[in-house]
Amino acid sequence: MIAEETLVHELKDKETQAKAFEVLVNTYKERLYWHIRRIVLKHDDADDVLQNTFIKVYKSIEKFKGESKLYSWMYRIATNESLTFLKQKQKKAGISNQEMQEHLLSRLESDVYFDGDEIQLKLQRALATLPEKQKLVFNMKYFQEMKYDDIAEVLETSVGGLKASYHLAVKKIETYLRAD
């Protein structure tokens, strides 16, 4: 695998940019897709946001100073793009955040790209009740199995706070799933 520093250098060089961008897309497309998909839920929306994320990365690679890992920087862009996408959609529809979550869940049931059973649908309902940060931390830790250090870099927060958020999210989800 190509070293991150080399990849960044090649992305900034006009001569090698196209080839390096292909490597970048191949390396991160799946990981970023699943991260985005768990925020926006619908496949078509996730596809739009993923494309926007890569375009943004391509356009702003000059601004990347290497203060954080390229991987965390891209995750941060993907997170911001996803949340902005949902907020714009919510604003356009003139509905509250809660109404937006309900709308996303109702669409999920009829989504052809959702194979989830009753318990998985219930999990999504439980996640919709969580504060934004807890939901992000849970998805990154539980499903993507990211390290706390990496999550902390993406969300620009402390590892201690993240651990607390994660365990709290797990407890809340379990309580929700046990109910009924």
Binding site: E22, V25, K29, Q51, I55, I119, Q120, L121, V170
Partner: protein, 173 residues
């Protein structure tokens, strides 16, 4: 034979630092009633075709950036030409609508002077009238030399300073 007891295997940096923590998280996950998968799926060959899709999009975005600049130049040039034409048009219209003294009919001037009490003093009139082009005969309605001599005699007797008349010397020679 001497045995080499040195371990030749390597682990990733920091592997053992968080081992306990990762193990606990794994046990929690195993025992949890939270499902291991979330049920999301993607269309067939989605990831395989994604590269082509994103490359096309990036290439589409690029010319837009490059081609915008020349258009911008044309917009500025067109705007400048339009501004010049507009100003020229306005200026010519403005000049046409500016009426000069020559545009006034002489009848209107005569009517104005007759009806308006201008109340000029003789000094003010002397300041305004260009005497280089006016002979004394133009303002005195005299038609013979005899009358002219009488006027000059009158002026000699009644005017102390000839400069008070604001006349050039050759006017009364």
């Amino acid at each position: 034979m001497k045995k080499n007891h040195k371990n030749k295997f390597k682990t990733p940096e920091g592997y053992f630092d968080n081992f306990n923590e990762r193990l606990i998280d794994k046990i929690i996950k195993e025992d949890s009633l939270i499902p291991k998968g979330d049920g999301f799926a993607v269309p067939k060959d989605y990831f395989e075709s994604f590269n082509t899709k994103i490359s096309n999009k990036v290439n589409q975005e690029q010319p837009r950036v490059i081609h915008l600049k020349p258009y911008k130049k044309y917009y500025y040039a067109a705007a400048s030409i339009a501004a010049i034409l507009l100003f020229s048009f306005w200026f010519s219209q403005y000049n046409q609508t500016q009426l000069g003294f020559d545009d006034l009919a002489s009848a209107e001037l005569d009517a104005y002077f007759e009806k308006t009490d201008l109340d000029f003093s003789s000094y003010e009139l002397a300041e305004v009238i260009n005497l280089d082009e006016v002979s004394i005969l133009d303002i005195t309605e005299i038609d013979n030399i005899q009358e002219s001599k009488m006027i000059l005699e009158y002026l000699d007797d009644n005017i102390d300073e000839i400069e008070d008349l604001n006349l050039d010397y050759d006017e009364f020679e």
